[in-house]
Amino acid sequence: MDKLKLIIQREFLAKVKNKSFIIMTFLSPLLMVGMGALVYFLMKKNEEKVKKIVYVDNSGIFSKETFKDSKTVTYEDYTKLGVEETKKKVEEGNYYGALIIPKKDSLEILANSIEFYSKDSPGLSFMGEIESKVETRLKNLKLTKFGIDLEKIEASKISSDIKMYNFSGEESTKAKNVASIIAGGAAGYLLFMFVLIYGTSVMRSVIEEKTSRIIEVIISSVKPFQLMLGKIIGNASAGLVQFFVWGIIIFILSMVLPMVFGIDMTEMQSTRVTPEQMEAMKEAAGGGKLERLIKEVLDLPLLKMFTLFIFYFFGGYMLYSSLFAAIGAAVDNETDTQQFMTPIMLPLILGVYVGFFTVINDPHGPISVIFSYIPFTSPIVMLMRIPFGVAWWEIALSLFLLIITFMSSVWIAAKIYRVGILMYGKKANYKDLWKWIRYSS
């Protein structure tokens, strides 16, 4: 046990003292926040540029009433100038584009005859915005034509919010679903990233010991199994420290940066979406979106999620990192790892895909359920399902399968590792690995 402690300590320090590790620890969050800030900055710049639109309305049914100026778009009525003159002016002057509305006999024909001229091709969302303005106006005109009172239509608008309960009496709302998706997705993705980064780090550390040829010296003092376990735990500890530092730095930066640059966080929320979308979202979430969301996150079974996160995190990491260690032992250098990496990466990536595409839409559907039992994907998929509420026996079954599998994977990996670390020169294939597993000690 003392030796295991020594190995963990060395592996941890070797990793933590590594220059690239230190650089990545401090640079990654800066880069991440920096990228976010850059995107925000560019978006802001983009929006600050006001688009000047002119329109020529020969139909006479549109007015400034329809084309209200917004923060980013202004409209000017050029009807008097005529179509040709307007086009020329727009082409020469500092305008974004010209909307040409012809005179037509019916609204239906008119709806499909409006033209927009611009120097650059406009974005889809921008065109959508204009189209919806036009549609609303035309619809209202038609409604009036049918003799329907617009004010009554306005007054008849009603919004329904069906409250959802499960049979244990917990209330579930759409906001809760959003909160579940965020919490589950974050947990699953975190696990995926961790396994990927530090699993391969275990593998690289094994390869390093092989290429530097120190391995025989070490295993004349300790059991290969101890060395492998020490490596897995040591790398995980370094990883946890790194994730922790990342978390702190990102938290601090996201608090400090907006203050320094005077960025309004609530504005950041709202500027991304058009007012109409905001309206729709508010309706969906039932008002007070952000506050509601935070409340729902806090209402999730956080303790249960955290406890299970620890279990799945441990199981998933042990399962994959032991396999990574075995790969490291089976090869002489990193370029040879590819053939063994693929079958390990596949279920890992599959887990993330199933998580983000299936669980979010149908957390209790057959695909979600099956993949949350399969040990190679269960740590990711089950973590994403848990916030939606999963029966205890399902979790028990999934954890049981995971534990059995990671114990056997550690056992098999140890066998491959033990033989592999002393094999040089020959490129191992799957047949060799199978042979090594069957060797007696």
């Binding site: 030796k3 020594l6 190995i7 060395r10 070797a14 590594n18 390093e208 010991e209 530097s212 040829r213 120190i214 391995i215 025989e216 010296v217 070490i218 295993i219 004349s220 003092s221 300790v222 059991k223 002393l422 040089y424 042979k435 060797y439 007696s440 000690s441």
Partner: protein, 309 residues
Amino acid sequence: MNNLLEINNVVKRYGDYTALNDVSMHIPKGSVFGLLGPNGAGKTSLIRIINQITMPDSGDIILDGEKLAPKHIAHIGYLPEERGLYKSMKVGEQALYLAQLKGMSKSEARQKLKYWFDKFDIGAWWNKKIEELSKGMAQKVQFVVTVLHSPKLLIFDEPFSGFDPINAQLIAKEILQLRDEGSTIIFSTHRMESVEEMCDHIALIHKSNKILDGKLEDIKRQYRTNVFEIGFKTDNQDLILGELKEKFEVSTADFKSLNEGLKLKVKLINGNTSGDLLSYLTSKGEVNHFVEMVPSANDIFIQAVNKTQ
């Protein structure tokens, strides 16, 4: 208890391949024991079994009267042929780590390291990374790490490879001194000249079988050919040559000598002794060279290996 290590009927198989076939040998306390054999003979397999890196399929190993067990790791020092250290770790840290893995306390290890680093005059390297050292320098560090915990049994696999002649000499001296201080040394090599210089006992492994072992002197006696190389000056060479050929097997020899005269290899036959040969020669002329041609370890190695084929 005269043997530090007894290897009894050890068998090791890897799949269908037998790496060691019923190998037994006894390694006396305080000896330098040469474990010889061509490449792939099974030396490394045996050494790994002694180091408990792998387990024998059958047979047992007794270290200092006890069956070999994990606790004995602290009593064994091993310098593998494929050697290396963590490249990006500092010399001092690394030496302390490896010493602690052998069960030493940190302070004890530090103290011993100071002694050895002073002895080899490498104290200034303490904070250097291994990758900053030359290969020879790294080898010195590795040697220190191997012997640091004063093990009863030291196993050196090709210890001189990678050393220049001066440092090889230094290491050879240290190995012999460790023996004089009570350590038992297993010395695995296929460089025969160092065997002559270092070993008291040898064992020869060939194709997974032990084909020869014992005291080096005894083995040499066993392989002695009774051939003497003589340099001889006489006035009537032809007559003497004729008489010699009647009593002995004679062939010409080729050795460097400052004297002129006959240079011959003479093999004793028909119960004649070296005394008979010498007294005959001195009665006929002037003897300026008279040496028994003792088989070198190299000759024995080649002969023994050829005999099995």
